[in-house]
């Protein structure tokens, strides 16, 4: 077996992998390898041919392939090595990875650090255990997007979409433009789980109904989907008897959630967060294994690629610090907790002694939509460190804020983030 040696191996050549590799390069890492399982760089952005990418990072509106191209071009200007069509099979505890491709066969890479950037996958029909028959024509919205945008084929002529996740909304519009009758989007929750702008631009503008608090109770069809039974659901998300309705269609697309792809991470033994389904990290995106970093959708599912890029740059910079010997030797952990109205907060802890950054940047998602609230950040002495006011919050949109490090003292051992109602003034 071939044996290679690098300073840094980045697993995944999507937006997270590309940005983290570039940032590591800018910060002085010499030998970097990106392993990408597809035959091209850019990851899932390649099939996201719609626009709306880059508004916050580049201050202009790009399509997915254009956004990816900016980073691919940058990588090509550097001496970062890229192995395409390469699947990493295992990360070993002694800082080696095992990978395979057509050209090299099985090979081992010794490395000083690894950045996990494998992205996520879509939740399936099986995971939801939707009852009924098992015909062709039930697929995830992302698989449909692949067929239409990369392969040039349309999966069906009459489509029902379950789940108001962003890919589903995007596909509702994409398929409508191809002449498909998208009959409606069903969302089991009482609110849309995707971005507001996607609901407006992809459904409302095309007269596609969004049925909130609705689900599919049965799939019909022997060979190919012939229809679905839909029903309204109660507060416990259970179908309400008597509200069932048969809807004929030949395709059911699922856009019911994304799950970080952490098979390698789990096998390696990283500590995982039950909610994000990604590894637990500090503000530098270091996992509990000091040479393993994570960023992008493998860490937690992002709404905007711009946020992925920012997070990847944090990981890339930190990996560079480790590799070039600039990492703080000592660490004082501050745990981050939150109340039950918040789904998760990332990072899950941070280093009080980190003197390289002026702020700690937090990413969080609320559990339920709300209006006129504030995020209250307290330390372990119950002292309010800061308030972050928000007029509208919803689970589909990630919230970010910066905690100035001057608020963290030598006595800070934890901070807690909670949601409070903004008092009317």
């Amino acid at each position: 077996m071939k044996k290679l040696a690098y300073d840094l191996v980045v697993i995944g050549g999507g937006p997270a992998g590309l940005a983290s590799a570039l940032e590591a390069k800018r910060n002085g890492v010499k030998k970097i390898l990106i392993c990408e399982r597809a035959p091209y760089l850019g990851g899932i952005l390649n099939q996201c041919i719609h626009n709306g990418f880059g508004l916050s990072y580049f201050k202009e509106e790009l399509t997915g392939p254009e956004y990816a191209e900016r980073f691919i071009t940058e990588v090509e200007k550097t001496d970062i090595d890229v192995k395409l069509g390469t699947m990493v099979l295992e990360i070993l505890e002694d800082q080696q990875i095992i990978a395979v491709n057509r050209k090299d066969g099985m090979f081992i890479v010794e490395t000083k650090a690894v950045i996990l950037a494998m992205g996520c996958r879509e939740r399936t029909r099986g995971a939801l255990t939707i009852p009924g028959e098992r015909p062709a024509g039930v697929m995830t919205a992302g698989a449909a997007q692949n067929y239409v945008n990369l392969e040039g084929y349309i999966p069906g002529k009459e489509v029902v979409i379950l789940g108001s996740g962003d890919i589903g909304l995007i596909m509702a519009r994409r398929l409508t433009l191809e002449g498909v009758n998208v009959k409606g989007v069903l969302e089991v929750m009482p609110y849309s789980t995707g971005l507001v702008r996607n609901k407006v631009q992809c459904l409302d503008d095309f007269g596609i109904p969004l049925l909130l608090s609705h689900t599919i109770t049965e799939i019909h069809g022997k060979d190919r989907v012939e229809g679905v039974t839909i029903a309204a659901v109660d507060e416990k998300l259970q179908p309400i008897e008597g509200t069932e309705q048969y809807v004929s269609c030949d395709t059911l697309l699922l856009s019911v959630g994304l799950i970080p792809e952490n098979e390698l991470t789990n096998k390696l033994g990283c500590e995982m967060d039950r909610v994000t389904k990604g590894p637990i990290v500090n503000e530098k995106r270091i996992t509990n294994i000091p040479w393993v970093f994570a960023c992008g959708n493998v860490l937690h599912v992002h709404d905007l690629v711009d946020n992925v890029t920012q997070e990847a740059e944090i990981a890339g910079k930190a990996a560079a610090a480790l590799i070039t010997g600039k990492m703080n030797e000592e660490e004082k952990i501050v745990e981050v907790t939150h109340d039950k109205n918040i789904g998760y907060v990332l990072p899950q802890h941070f280093d009080a002694l980190n003197n390289q950054d002026k702020v700690v940047k937090f990413f969080l998602r609320v559990k339920n939509p709300d209006e006129d609230i504030k995020l209250v950040v307290k330390d372990n002495s119950e002292k309010v460190l800061m308030n972050v006011k928000k007029s509208i919050v919803e689970p589909g949109t990630m919230i970010t804020f910066n905690l100035p490090r001057q608020f963290v003292t030598k006595d800070t051992s934890s901070i807690d983030i909670s949601i409070a109602r903004e008092q009317a003034e």
Partner: protein
């Protein structure tokens, strides 16, 4: 077309019979109406090799299951089929009345010659299965139960038959049996007539229909539906043995059992239905299985989320509840192999041997001399994930397709998929590929690899992507090329859902 023996049905029973008869110097044709072998009852069941401890030994099915247990290991070795035995099993009880039934099962097992069975007290039970619901009180341990991959087993049997000269013709449905002078002459199919000296009816759920083409029959196949949960591999370690819930009067009990590939299978209920094509799962049944059995035995197993899929299978139960393996009563040369419900998968080898005896009686002119150049095995498919790294490297050097991972969840290469498409029993659709090499059987359920497998099928079979199916027949995956739909003439329905 002409043959000595015609077998109707490409399930595990038809394939076993073809495999058995292919040892002899005769022509064999197996016809199967579906696009692949193993498409009916054989495809969706508990995948267990029942030791026979909980089956009545004086029934035909009991007798054949016990006989099969003696030969199945060697058979699997010969055919390079993954088979795990013994795993043993534990029957779990919560109530005093469960214990009484378990005592009866113990007695039955001893009578059937199963050694090493014993009742477990609560402490012993939880030592052997630490994750079991703490309230479980009684256990019955039995050491001989095994597990198998039913697709692999059926495909291997059929492939071996083909290697030894049998013809397996897929997509061919028997429409009528031709009888002349009280003797079978052949069959009419959607692909033309086939003449045969002996016809074996191994049509599973349709065995009564096929038998009825020959004479008036006194049995009926009553499909009995069972629904299952297939769990993510990460739950494999929740148990050490296949677990039976305590038996009831009508059932051996529900099971939670590991699969050969390391998933966990849980089910199944038993609902008699009329429609032999009804494979729909229902929320009532799934909730029942989960609520009454799965969560009762292992409360940590989730209702959804880590579920890979749920599915239903139909047991081809006959009205008299035992196997019916006998010649037709009024027509010579016709043999019924019907009512093969559980433990049919286990019993398949012994059924095939028994059928051989009936074929010998049915036609004394058939040549039962051993086939020259008989092969008892088949070329084992390459399973990259099972090979040491150095061997994989050598394989990839010879054939780079083995270095291209297509299914990331199960680490299946393009090479393995291409080989499956060109084996003696070819995989010609997405699910057929999945059953052979597991591409699409993992966590993403083909979300990522589906489009790639479709591409490979289109390329290898030299058909348009629009012609590739999920599971044969009209189960096309794609509807049209981009742009073509918007140019289609005529009125199309643009009605939206309204409530």
């Amino acid at each position: 077309m002409k043959t000595d023996v015609l077998i109707i049905g490409g399930g595990v029973i038809g394939a076993s019979i073809a495999h058995q008869l292919a040892k002899y110097n005769m022509d064999i044709i197996l016809v199967e109406k579906a696009s692949d072998v193993c498409m009916g009852t054989s495809k969706a069941n508990s995948a267990m090799i029942h030791s026979g401890f909980n089956i009545k030994g004086d029934t035909l099915k009991g007798k054949l299951a016990l006989e099969s247990n003696k030969v199945i290991k060697q058979l699997c070795d010969d055919l390079s089929v993954g088979y795990i035995k013994p795993l043993g099993s534990i029957t779990v009880g919560f109530e005093e009345s469960d214990l009484e039934r378990m005592k009866g099962t113990l007695e039955n097992g001893i009578k059937n010659g199963i050694k090493g069975m014993k009742l477990l007290n609560q402490k012993e039970l939880h030592e052997m299965e630490p994750n079991l619901n703490p309230e479980a009180k009684y256990g019955l341990y039995e050491p001989e139960t095994g597990i198998i991959n039913p697709f692999e087993f059926t495909v291997a049997l059929a492939e071996n038959a083909v290697i030894n000269g049998a013809k397996v013709i897929l997509g061919t449905e028997v429409l009528d049996v031709i009888v002349e002078d009280k003797k079978v002459k052949g069959v009419k199919t959607n692909n033309g007539d086939i003449e045969a000296k002996v016809i074996i009816n191994a049509a599973g759920l349709y065995a009564d229909k096929i038998a009825g083409m020959v004479e008036a029959v006194d049995f009926e196949i009553k499909p009995r539906k069972g629904e299952y949960f297939l769990y993510d591999k990460k739950w494999r370690s929740v148990l050490n043995h296949p677990i039976y819930s305590a038996p009831t009067k009508v059932s051996k009990g529900m099971i939670i059992v590991p699969t050969v590939d390391g998933n966990l299978l849980a089910g199944s209920n038993a609902e008699t239905i009329d429609d032999t094509t009804d494979l729909a799962t229902s929320s009532i049944a799934l909730n029942g299985i989960y609520g009454n059995t799965i969560s009762h035995l292992f409360p940590q197993l989730p209702r959804m989320g880590d579920v890979i899929t749920t599915f239903a299978g139909l047991r081809a139960a006959s009205t008299n509840e035992d196997f019916i393996i006998e010649p037709a009563k009024t027509v010579a040369g016709f043999i019924n192999v019907a009512g093969i419900q559980s433990p049919g998968l286990t019993s398949a080898p012994a059924i095939a041997t028994m059928v051989e005896g009936l074929v010998r009686e049915a036609d004394h002119d058939l040549d039962f001399a051993p086939r020259t150049n008989y092969e008892k095995g088949r070329q084992a498919p390459v399973v990259l994930a099972d090979l040491p790294y150095e061997e994989r490297t050598a394989l990839i050097e010879k054939n780079p397709d083995f270095g291209e991972i297509v299914c990331r969840c199960e680490s299946i290469s393009k090479g393995e998929i291409k080989k499956a498409i060109h084996r003696p029993i070819p995989a010609t659709n997405i699910d057929a590929v999945k059953r052979r090499v597991r591409a699409g059987m993992g966590r993403c359920q083909g979300g990522f690899c589906g489009p790639k497998v479709l591409d490979i099928l289109s390329e290898e079979l030299n058909i348009s992507p629009l012609e590739v199916t999920q599971k044969g027949d009209k189960s096309f995956v794609l509807a049209s090329r981009n742009k073509e739909l918007s140019l289609e003439e005529g009125d199309r329905n643009y009605e939206k859902i309204s409530i």
